[in-house]
């Protein structure tokens, strides 16, 4: 008995997510995820098929539970978030984020603006680790010479925010009033007044929202007239051949990498499933339009063949 106790402890440490896994399936192996992708018929598309339920990856869960479950996923991946992103996307997520920020061109250049008042007011939703926020501030300061642009990082998950605060210490913005962290649900941003935000960004976050429409309407409320909603999110691959390869990679390799590197397979299984369930480019464009925003051009820009896409919307004046 005394010998067995430390062994159990050791096993528990090695397989971090065993407990959470128990509720989903009695048995899982490396090939399970591939089988999931191929055999499991995704639940019906319409989220209204049953009152008060929504999807969590390929599972159908009660709406009240989704937030909690997503919270658990991100609490468990917070510390290894960056390393995992690099492994899974082969570093490309950094290029996407750089492109996203460069295209938005944040900051007010004092050379071209005669009335050199305050800079932009940026709200970065689901940006707990600060990836987008630090890039925005860097771009505004170094490219546009703007020392006033402010970024408010909002995230529902305190663990991700803690990770972001920790990282902020190695940037020049840690103690400056330009960077602020708030714990908030994107569907009820009560602490943000109406028409106060120039730029609302959400990078790889909107996928996990329980009610995407509500979040979009909330974005519309907080944006100034003329303000921009910008969203970087996984999307649908256009080329069927590339899509087949990409599905293999995401369902086969990503949960495996999650298990090996982060010791947490389930969280990464959820990740790929949630990507699969996220609406296509045109569907999401229509959702943005339904919230009352104007979309530029066709409404989105594909990145790396549609693995990710940038959607934008402008609040009309």
């Amino acid at each position: 008995m005394n010998v067995q106790a430390p062994r159990i402890l050791l096993r528990r440490q090695l397989l971090g997510g065993v407990k959470r896994r128990a509720s989903r399936e009695p048995y899982r192996c490396f090939s399970c995820s591939v089988r999931d992708a191929q055999q499991q018929t995704p639940p019906p598309k319409s989220p209204q098929h049953a009152q008060g339920t929504t999807h969590f990856g390929f599972e159908t869960v009660a709406e009240a539970l989704k937030e909690q479950k997503v919270g658990a996923v991100f609490s468990s991946v917070a510390s290894s978030y960056d390393a995992m992103n690099d492994f899974m996307s082969l570093g490309i997520h950094r290029l996407w984020k750089d492109h996203f920020v460069r295209n938005l061109n944040p900051g007010r250049n004092p050379l071209t603006s005669s009335s050199s008042d305050q800079g932009w007011n940026i709200l970065d939703i689901a940006g707990g680790t600060g990836d987008i926020a630090f890039r925005m501030l860097d771009y505004a300061s170094t490219i546009n010479n703007d020392a006033h642009t402010k970024v408010t990082v909002a995230d529902i998950n305190p663990d991700m925010l803690a990770e972001g605060r920790k990282r902020a210490l190695s940037t020049p913005y840690a103690r400056s009033p330009r960077l602020k962290f708030v714990e908030a649900n994107a569907e009820t941003l009560d602490m943000i007044p109406d028409s106060s935000i120039d730029l609302y960004t959400v990078a790889f976050g909107i996928r996990n929202f329980t009610h995407k429409g509500t979040a979009l309407r909330e974005a519309y409320r907080v944006l100034k007239p003329g303000g921009v909603f910008a969203c970087l999110e996984f999307s649908k691959v256009n080329n069927p051949l590339f899509d087949a390869f990409y599905k293999r990679w995401s369902f086969g390799a990503i949960p495996l990498i999650g298990q090996v590197v982060a010791g947490d397979r389930d969280s990464y299984q959820y990740l790929v499933e949630s990507i699969e369930r996220f609406p296509s480019q045109t569907e999401f464009r229509d959702m943005i339009q339904d919230a009352g925003l104007l979309v530029p051009g066709q409404g989105w820009e594909d990145l790396t063949g549609g693995i990710a896409a940038i959607h934008k919307g402008v609040k009309p004046t």
């Binding site: 007239p225 003329g226 104007l294 530029p296 051009g297 004046t317």
Partner: protein, 262 residues
């Protein structure tokens, strides 16, 4: 009866000529729903740009003489019409959208700025060549106010991403000019006319950016010289074709007279 004047849409021509320019055609498909592939006097075309975009772009264009084709001009334009700096994100292609706006608006303005007198009034008939010349000059004059900034625009248009869209717009301009000049050809000269006009127009446009003469007289001369070249080339090609045809027939006939079965 005569109210329908069918004209193949320029995008069809570019699509068949330059089959790989998918980006342009898909962008066209995403544009306003009611877009006809032919020219009609009965129905007015929908406005080329959505209201918000055209408000920002037209305001931005007034800043081009001072700020050039830059994001600064776009930002100032957006502020002029009550939008924020960030609102320029409504333009997916940034400064190229500004250049494109100028190109499209000036192309569409051509039919209103140039009016040819009816034959009965003036007494003498104005040839198609003369009409084309007038139209090209009118289009070049439309660049006059921003000619000192036009090299920037040419540089933006020459960026690999925007080359297909720029060429398509050039083809549309050539098509518009031939249409307004009253050309109704339906043979292969439809293509050669548009190709040669595109070459003439674009070279004159580049020449004009360097022109310092009074009232752009040098550009006018340059244009005349190029049009003459094309006509000379046309007659040379015509004569060459006739000669080749004659020689080929004679050769075959000589061979036949020698008993070769052809």
């Amino acid at each position: 009866m005569g109210s329908w004047d069918l004209k193949p849409h320029p995008s069809m021509a570019t699509r068949s000529l330059l089959g790989s320019f998918r980006a342009t055609s898909s962008r066209l498909a995403a544009a306003p729903a009611c877009r006809r592939s032919f020219h009609s006097y009965e129905y007015t075309q929908p406005p080329p740009f959505p209201p918000t975009e055209s408000a920002i772009l037209s305001a931005a264009l007034s800043h081009v003489p001072d700020h050039g084709f830059t994001t600064a001009a776009l930002t100032l334009g957006a502020r002029d019409v009550g939008y924020l700096d960030v609102s320029t994100n409504i333009l997916p292609r940034g400064v190229f959208d500004l250049v494109n706006y100028h190109l499209v608006m000036q192309r569409l303005a051509l039919k209103d700025t140039v009016q040819f007198p009816a034959e009965a009034e003036s007494g003498k008939k104005l040839g198609t060549g003369a009409k084309v010349r007038t139209l090209i000059l009118a289009r070049l004059r439309a660049n006059e106010s921003i000619i000192h900034r036009w090299q920037e625009a040419l540089a933006i248009m020459a960026q690999p991403t925007y080359v297909p869209a720029s060429l398509a717009e050039l083809a549309r301009l050539a098509d518009e000019i031939w249409f307004l000049a009253g050309d109704t050809s339906v043979d292969t000269s439809w293509y050669t006319k548009r190709a040669s006009l595109s070459a003439i127009y674009s070279s004159s446009e580049v020449f004009m950016t360097q022109d310092t003469s009074q009232n752009f007289r040098d550009t006018e001369q340059f244009l005349d010289a190029r049009m003459e070249d094309v006509m000379k080339m046309g007659s040379i090609f015509g004569a060459l074709g006739e000669w080749t045809d004659y020689t080929a027939h004679s050769t075959i006939n000589v061979l036949r007279s020698k008993g070769v079965r052809i």
